[in-house]
């Protein structure tokens, strides 16, 4: 996907986001944009504020100032659970599956925003609630098949190997058919082979979906991203294609600085 910096019409953008938590400035005037139909990476050393950007976008953290725009429209009062209605889905660091529900039930819940029937209809088991759930179930199974985890549909998350759990979590995010997908460290804790699969998978979603990726594994980021934003200590220090970012001395300094400190 082609894009030109500065971005003219990003599908998702943050404008001058500032976040302070317990007296610490976590994000300082962060403005990033995600062009439609791209895989955009958000990288930076530990504590740079990457996940906080995700949390601001998904409404878990309220910024002190700044705004979020989706399709050019400013979002007011973001509620995490309304995000999928806007066509945005996210995964959580680690796995974040519901341990007491089967893999399939987990994935089905990802489509909650599609469920229209209320609690009274559910309480009386009205036939259309069954239809609704049957549709959702079919969708969930289709996505699980796409990700190669359909055979684990009936298993509990605790019984599944970690990479499979991550797949199921990914399926849960996909089942709402999001336009924008926020992936928080999808490659965390998985093997090199699985990582190659993951890269293929992510690239297969664009340009239909737009992906924002927070990831530590540089190989993955460099392989799949069209555009990369680099955060350090809550500030944007660089942006551009993987090649540009790789050669940016500021980025190098940020990562080396951390290595030196560690």
């Amino acid at each position: 996907m082609r894009y030109v910096l500065p971005l003219t019409d990003p599908v998702l953008a943050t404008r001058s986001i500032c976040v302070t938590l317990s007296g610490l400035r976590i994000l300082d005037d962060v403005s990033i944009g995600i062009p439609e139909g791209t895989v955009t990476g958000l990288i930076g050393p530990n504590g740079a504020g990457k996940t906080t950007v995700f949390n601001v976008i998904s409404g878990f953290v309220k910024p002190d100032s700044g705004e979020i725009r989706v399709d050019g429209r400013k979002l007011k009062h973001i509620h995490p659970h309304r995000l999928t209605e806007l066509g945005i889905a996210r995964t959580l660091q680690g796995v974040g599956l519901f341990p007491s529900l089967t893999a399939l039930e987990n994935v089905m819940l990802g489509g909650s925003s599609r469920v229209k029937s209320g609690i009274i209809a559910q309480a009386l088991a009205m036939p259309w609630t069954d239809t609704e759930q049957a549709d959702l179930r079919e969708r969930a199974l289709a996505i699980m098949t796409e990700l190669g985890v359909e055979s684990d549909a009936g298993r509990m998350p605790g019984e599944l190997p970690y990479p499979i759990q991550k797949r199921v979590a990914l399926a849960r995010a996909l089942v709402s058919d999001p336009k924008i997908l926020l992936l928080d460290e999808p490659a965390g804790g998985i093997s090199a082979g699985d990582m190659a699969d993951l890269a293929r998978l992510i690239m297969s979603w664009v340009p239909k979906r737009t992906v924002l990726l927070v990831e530590h594994h540089m190989e993955l980021v460099m392989e799949v991203c069209d555009l990369i934003w680099v955060l350090d200590a809550g500030k944007v220090i660089s942006a551009g294609t993987p090649e540009v970012v790789r050669q940016d001395p500021a980025v190098l300094a940020a990562y080396l600085g951390q290595e030196g400190a560690a």
């Binding site: 317990s22 996940t51 949390n55 878990f60 959580l92």
Partner: protein, 292 residues
């Protein structure tokens, strides 16, 4: 106006007892992140132990001392029962376990000492002190209650600020991992916290007993008041527990005095609900950002 002030003064000793019970709740919350709803059951048990000792020996001080020891032992036992579900991260289970202990302790008290309300002998003069040409709504006994409470609060604050065990307790509450790495034997420190809370609760029980009768469930209402005080204070704050405990005592005394003592639970409920609506983490508590 006179009666208003009288009720306020009279409420202080009430408040002192609520504050002590609130401290016991806060001590355990800080140590183990559990609200020990069994605390009043423990206090009731130790109060009956004290009643027995006092009936036999006639010594109030000895009775108090025995109750404190019993309180410490009970505290350690209850901790043992609650820790396991906590380790499983079953917070509902831990809360339920404390209620199980409360039910069992109340039944045990009923079995051993009977379910009837019993009078606890008044160890000091309970008549209003006469001075400056009027009768004050405060007795020698009230002064003892207030005095013991102040003593205990001062002792606790010295313990926390001046002693190594106090420092270890604070460290373990603040960050158990770091404390463990710096050589603190966290589990022992936590157990000490439970024992300490048991002692404080036992003192509260013995102090409050003479002002009413004692029966297995007399202290239920004290639990609600103490919890209200502890929660409004922020559950983490000893200062908050003391301040709000005394405040709760004053409010209850005013409400009971000016209207009807049966209204006190309703007032506690309203206070609790209001404080939880406006500030779910307490007035003195620090709001921590949730990790996502």
């Amino acid at each position: 106006m006179t009666s208003f002030i009288d009720y306020l003064i009279g409420g202080v000793s009430n408040g002192a007892v609520i504050a002590l019970m609130a401290i016991a709740l806060v001590l355990i919350w800080r140590a183990t992140r559990v609200v020990n709803f069994a605390q009043v059951g423990q206090a009731m048990f130790t109060t009956f132990v004290a009643l027995t000792v006092q009936t036999v020996t006639g010594s109030w001080v000895l009775a108090l001392a025995v109750a404190m020891v019993a309180g410490a032992i009970l505290g350690v036992i209850v901790q043992f029962l609650v820790l396991r579900p906590m380790r499983r991260a079953d917070t509902s289970g831990a809360i339920i376990a404390t209620f199980g202990v409360l039910i069992a302790l109340q039944a045990a008290v009923g079995m051993i000492w009977g379910g009837d309300a019993q009078a606890y002998p008044q160890p000091f003069d309970n008549a209003g002190i006469v001075a400056f040409g009027r009768i004050w709504p405060i007795s020698v006994y009230d002064l003892v209650v207030i005095g013991v409470t102040i003593l205990l609060v001062v002792a606790l604050s010295l313990l926390f600020t001046r002693t190594s065990i106090g420092l270890a307790m604070r460290a373990s509450a603040f960050n158990p991992e770091v404390a463990r790495l710096s050589g603190v034997r966290v589990s022992r420190v936590l157990t000490f916290g439970w024992a300490l809370a048991g002692v404080v609760g036992a003192v509260a029980g013995v102090l409050v007993a003479p002002s009413s009768t004692v029966s297995p469930t007399t202290f239920d209402i004290l639990l609600v008041f103490a919890f209200t005080a502890a929660v409004i204070g922020g559950l983490d704050s000893l200062v908050g527990a003391v301040a709000l405990g005394v405040f709760a005592g004053l409010v209850i005394s005013l409400v009971s005095g000016l209207s009807n003592s049966g209204n006190a639970p309703v007032v506690a409920l309203i206070l609790l609900a209001l404080s939880l609506i406006t500030k779910p983490d307490g007035v003195f508590g620090h709001h921590k950002a949730r990790a996502v």
